[in-house]
């Protein structure tokens, strides 16, 4: 079976009158297996959307090749687009239509039945807003409708371009559940995001993108392990004598501030047991390395999501 996506050495340069030459995509290659949840993570302007648009077939690259489900996305072919589901950054809706009319129109474009349209509205939790005009829906509801439109054709491969941008935390969590269930049904999902925790929570594998290049690809856990960074254990200051702090650190780095003592340890189990037996657990927090540290390590830059 072909891979869901195979991308080799994509390049795209924009020439703006004011901005001069911008290498939006600069030699990007990756491969996504069927059934995978694949994330492209990077700050705004990293080239995520341009990469996605080239992969989808909306833009032609200057050079490089794309295979979707074993075929080229260019030129447009109904056989291929019928197997894709796409959610774009802008909520692309027909003006003045209700949520139901919107999804029914998309259902007809994909040759799917009206029953399927109603089912998708139900799935994304918009059944009771079916008769509301699209422009009157909230941001989160519009994103969910957009995803419903992407799913209505029963796609094998789903592209979601920053679906949770500008949503409140609750709406974001709801969308996460929805995205997990889409992937659990056996669909391949490609997600772009600039939220670290989103990529960490959802993706099987993550490509970290910066300045038009993919800097590294791995699973979130693999990234963190590969980083081999110490665990940061923090407790409130004033519970331990300086000598005891020295003793507990056992030669590893530590810092003592006015409000907190921070240990950086490779053996968090031993340290935490000792702290517990001392009864020094006030203000305890344990932080393992996350994708933010990975980003810093991979790009040499602080994360500014």
């Amino acid at each position: 079976m072909d891979a869901a996506i195979e991308v080799a050495d994509l390049r795209k340069t924009y020439r703006g009158r004011r901005t001069g030459e911008v290498r939006a995509v600069d030699g990007v290659s990756f491969r996504v297996e069927r059934g995978e949840f694949f994330g492209i993570l990077g700050p705004n302007g990293a080239g995520k959307t341009t990469t996605l648009e080239i992969v989808e077939g909306l833009r032609k690259p200057d050079s490089g090749t794309v295979r979707l489900l074993g075929r080229s996305p260019w030129p447009h072919s109904p056989e291929l687009t019928g197997r894709l589901g796409v959610q774009l950054q802008a909520s692309a809706f027909f003006e003045f239509l209700t949520a139901r009319e919107q999804i029914e129109t998309f259902a007809e474009l994909y040759g799917a039945g009206q029953g399927r349209a109603a089912e998708m509205l139900e799935l994304v939790g918009l059944a009771e807003h079916a008769n509301v005009r699209c422009e009157k829906l909230s941001g989160g509801q519009q994103q969910r409708l957009s995803i419903a439109c992407a799913l209505v054709g029963d796609p094998e491969l789903v592209f979601l371009d920053e679906p949770t941008a500008a949503l409140d935390p609750q709406a974001r969590r709801n969308l996460w559940d929805l995205m997990r269930s889409i992937n659990a049904e056996g669909r391949t999902v490609v997600l772009t995001t600039h939220y670290m925790e989103e990529a960490e929570a959802l993706c099987d594998r993550v490509a970290i993108m910066d300045a038009g290049k993919i800097r590294a690809i791995d699973s979130p856990a693999g990234f963190v392990q590969g980083l081999d960074a110490p665990t940061k254990v923090t407790v409130a200051a004033g519970q331990l004598s300086d000598e005891r702090v020295q003793e507990l650190a056992a030669g590893e780095p530590w810092t003592a501030g006015e409000t907190a003592v921070v240990f950086e340890t490779r053996d968090p189990r031993k340290l935490l047991t000792a702290l517990a037996s001392d009864g020094a657990l006030d203000g305890l927090s344990v932080r393992t390395a996350n994708l933010e540290d990975v980003f810093l390590h991979v790009t040499g830059r602080e994360w500014r999501g």
Partner: protein, 367 residues
């Protein structure tokens, strides 16, 4: 929920071409009907212009002349009430004051056998009309007196027949012009506004990623505009005929293909504007910039024959001129379609050239 086989999808996609067109037509048509600004611009605005222009151009020559009689004016005794509305003034100064204020069209004093007429200088057109009518009235009275004195003597009489099929009533030349203008703004503003909306919403981008082709979508969009133009024409001509006394010829139905062709030409102009403009206000402003001069030099609101030479010269470049002429010929004068072949040819050539230009210069990446 199941993932379909590839073969089932292929069959599904092949069957869905006509269905995609129908559903897109339905979605876009519904959107149009729910957009109140569209209804206003396409249907109500042209009707408002018709009411306005018909009352501006139509009042002067149909109403009775307002005459102020100073003292006893015997000649007015035989006057037709349809032609003269007579008021009285105590002296000439009072009558002249009424003329200055625009309250009367002419003042009359009869001094024995002399009928002295003071036509209004404030409103010279209706003053001249009143003067003419009063002179005719005096002539009629003289003929009566002379015929009574010499009963055997034959006198000449005039009879006035309408020429040009009666097309001189203002509504007869105004209606086709306003309709042509209505079709033009619906096409230009409609296409320009839609394209700017698409740039913002990325709807076209989304639709390119469905099995339906962009061509199907654009076809559905143009179809909606053409249906709208036909509906607009029907409503407009019905109101003009029933409410304003426009007489429709037997060839009126040929207005439909003319309006369709005109709409294509104006849509093409709108696409060029939509390609340049980035925001809705910019699209509306540019559309005005193009349609206003086009309307003023087209003869749509004011007969070209009465316009200065340079306006007549520029008008040859305005597609509205040809639509206006063609509509006037078939709807008002009842000429057959063969008589407007030159206009059809120009409109078709104009539509083709502008469409080609917009196709070549359009930045599809922005959609």
């Amino acid at each position: 929920m199941s993932l379909e086989t590839a073969e089932a999808r292929t069959v599904r996609a092949e069957r869905s071409g006509g269905r995609a067109y129908r559903s897109l037509f339905k979605a876009l048509g519904r959107g149009w009907l729910r957009d109140r600004s569209q209804i206003f611009f396409t249907i109500l605005l042209p009707l408002m212009f018709m009411v306005l222009l018909a009352s501006v151009f139509g009042s002067g020559d149909t109403a009775a002349s307002r005459i102020v009689a100073v003292g006893d004016v015997a000649v007015l005794d035989g006057a037709d009430a349809d032609e003269f509305a007579v008021a009285e003034a105590s002296d000439l100064d009072a009558a002249l004051a009424m003329l200055r204020d625009g309250d009367a069209d002419a003042a009359v004093v009869q001094d024995g056998s002399t009928v002295r007429i003071y036509p209004s200088a404030t409103n010279s057109t209706s003053g001249a009309i009143a003067e003419g009518r009063l002179s005719a009235l005096v002539d009629d009275v003289n003929v009566e007196v002379l015929s009574a004195a010499a009963p055997g003597e034959p006198v000449l009489a005039t009879e006035v027949e309408e020429a040009d099929g009666g097309a001189l009533q203002p509504i007869q030349y105004l209606a086709p012009g306003i309709l042509a203008w209505g079709v033009a703004i619906a096409g230009v503003f409609g296409a320009a506004g839609t394209i700017v909306d698409w740039k913002r919403d990325k709807l076209l981008r989304r639709l390119r990623l469905t099995p339906a082709s962009v061509r199907t979508f654009l076809g559905a969009k143009v179809s909606v505009n053409l249906v709208v133009a036909v509906g607009q024409t029907a409503v407009f001509l019905a109101v003009a005929a029933l409410g304003f006394g426009l007489r429709l010829s037997a060839w009126t139905w040929f207005a439909v293909p003319l309006v369709l062709l005109g709409t294509l030409a104006f849509l093409a102009i709108g696409v060029v504007i939509g390609g340049i403009a980035q925001t809705s206000p910019a699209a509306a402003g540019l559309s005005n910039l193009v349609t206003m001069p086009m309307a003023f030099v087209s003869g749509a609101f004011y007969p070209l024959a009465l316009s200065p030479g340079w306006v007549q010269a520029i008008s040859y470049a305005s597609p509205m001129r040809y639509l206006n002429e063609a509509l006037q010929s078939v709807v008002v004068y009842g000429e057959p379609p063969t008589a407007v072949l030159p206009q059809i040819g120009f409109l078709a050539a104009f539509a083709a050239i502008v469409a080609l230009f917009s196709w070549k210069t359009f930045k599809f990446d922005e959609l």
